[in-house]
Symmetry: C2
Subunit: 312 residues, 2 copies
């Protein structure tokens, strides 16, 4: 029975749930993706939701599960600790929190906190992706992790030295859906990384970050006065916010001095590649976010469940 | 009958309705304030809402009414034109749009547009306040108009030379009410202009505008890691956004080179005064926004209805 799962790996966020059954060699035996994030799973019961998905994956009772993400936050299943940066990513497994649960051992990985008074910051879930990034051989440099709350992380030989979170994705969604700009950006079309309005938005934000909210309003004004197309308005809005993130990363992390890895999945990757190019941040190493979180969970699971592994 | 209204003046915005009955000398005979902005009044019918309020004010049929604000926008009663900046504020009255309506003449003042391809911008309502600012004797300099969409306007001898809109107030409300920051700023307490967290937020935005969205996320991180009080978080959020507006005004309008007038009403004025001080923009001339819009409407009404006035 080489196909018997050695562990279940779960990336459990606010709005999404992903689980993999893997064997002892790390081969993926099955995968589940569902909208059972914290918001949906909380009322149903985290333990019940987990078991439903693991049953569907054919993971037997007793096989341990390792979780990461917001499921370990104050609003999740249990509140797992934060490790304090600077911190080596190898420490994650050893500091996992056990969750009392039947019929299997369940652990959740800690997040990472930057406790400085001047620059407080937190991550939960990204640390596991970073473990995967290191497993892929990117051990020193800057990691750009686009998302609802984008992270820029300084790695030095597998240690998280420091990081900054930018609210890029959340602001984009808020402004797109529910602001004075909504009419001017109302389209279902995807943003093209080649749209000149996107690059223009990035460039303006890099050149004059102080004018961000004025540039945002100009998206509406351009639509009112010049009949600017909503596709172009949406690209400009996205460019402004991603460009401000680039400007912030340059201001905070000496981004020109280090190799950059871009960790993402889906259409956002092309936009960030274009923005990095506009910001003269060259050609980043591209890594797949989904693969990295799985590899990170796998690396931690091997450390954490080593004795169980060898017992099979 | 010295108390007979010469005209009705109406400032009609998206969420608010204010009307004054004034005599030929400009004396206020009565005032109405209601939540009958566009959103509420549209379904009821603009004409009907206007007449209800004017009846309550004792404004007889035949007495003309002059309107300003978003009631003259695409989503309002009629779409009034925009005058193109640079434009003298004396031109507003001559370019008012007549609204077909019984039982009185009704006009709405135009907005002002900046049609430049690079810096498109629009105002509707603020131009009438500016007419009041000029009537108060502030004819040359920068006018700071805090609000949902704050305006910074360059005046030269009563001419609007150019302006910029900042989405400061809208972003503040969105982030406060409906974002990852909401828990960290959940308080009913008013923001104190003396709160060091407010000045700190302003200072950070002035020094490093590119880090805006990172500083915003730090409001949450400071609450999670250091137990920062929500009052302090709210002050920091407000300071970050108002500080970015100050940085933008400095970047765009040579704000240090000109006298500054601060046009506002209510608690926001103290916050802007503090932020202007942190930005080294000295002591602005304070003008009351409510008084200015009334004075602007009055000045325009006198020009527009001159013949009717003299006929009384």
């Amino acid at each position: 029975m080489t196909a018997s799962p050695a562990f279940a790996l779960v990336d459990w966020g606010t709005t999404s749930f992903r689980a993999w059954a893997v064997d002892a060699a790390g081969q993926v035996l099955g995968e589940r993706r569902a909208a059972d994030g914290l918001v949906a799973a909380g009322p149903k019961g985290f333990g019940r939701v987990l078991e439903e998905h693991l049953a569907a994956l054919g993971v037997p009772a007793g096989t341990p599960a390792l979780l990461c993400g917001m499921v370990g936050s104050r609003t999740g299943w249990v509140e797992a600790s934060y490790l304090d940066a600077p911190v080596g990513l190898d420490d994650l497994a050893a500091r996992a929190t056990a969750i009392p649960h039947e019929p299997r051992p369940v652990f959740v990985l800690p997040g990472i906190a930057q406790r400085s008074d001047a620059e407080p910051d937190v991550m939960r879930g990204e640390e596991t992706q970073l473990l995967g990034v290191v497993a892929e051989g990117f051990r020193t440099g800057l990691v750009c992790m686009p998302g609802t709350h984008s992270k820029w992380v300084r790695l030095d030989e597998g240690t998280v030295e420091g990081f900054s979170t930018f609210m890029t994705g959340e602001l984009f969604q808020m402004l797109r859906s529910n602001s004075i700009l909504s009419q001017a950006v109302a389209t279902e079309a995807a943003i093209s990384a080649d749209d000149p309005a996107f690059a223009s938005g990035v460039r303006h934000a890099l050149d004059e970050p102080a004018l961000l909210t004025s540039r945002l309003f100009q998206v509406r004004a351009g639509w009112l006065l010049h009949g600017a197309a909503p596709e172009s308005g949406l690209a400009r809005l996205s460019g402004a916010l991603i460009g401000l993130e680039m400007a912030g990363a340059l201001a905070r992390h000496d981004a020109r001095e280090a190799p950059v890895a871009l960790l993402g999945s889906g259409p956002i990757v092309a936009l960030y590649e274009r923005a990095l190019a506009v910001a003269d941040l060259g050609s980043p190493r591209r890594l797949d976010a989904d693969a990295c979180v799985r590899h990170g969970l796998l690396a931690a699971a091997r450390l954490l469940f080593a004795s169980k592994d060898s017992g099979r």
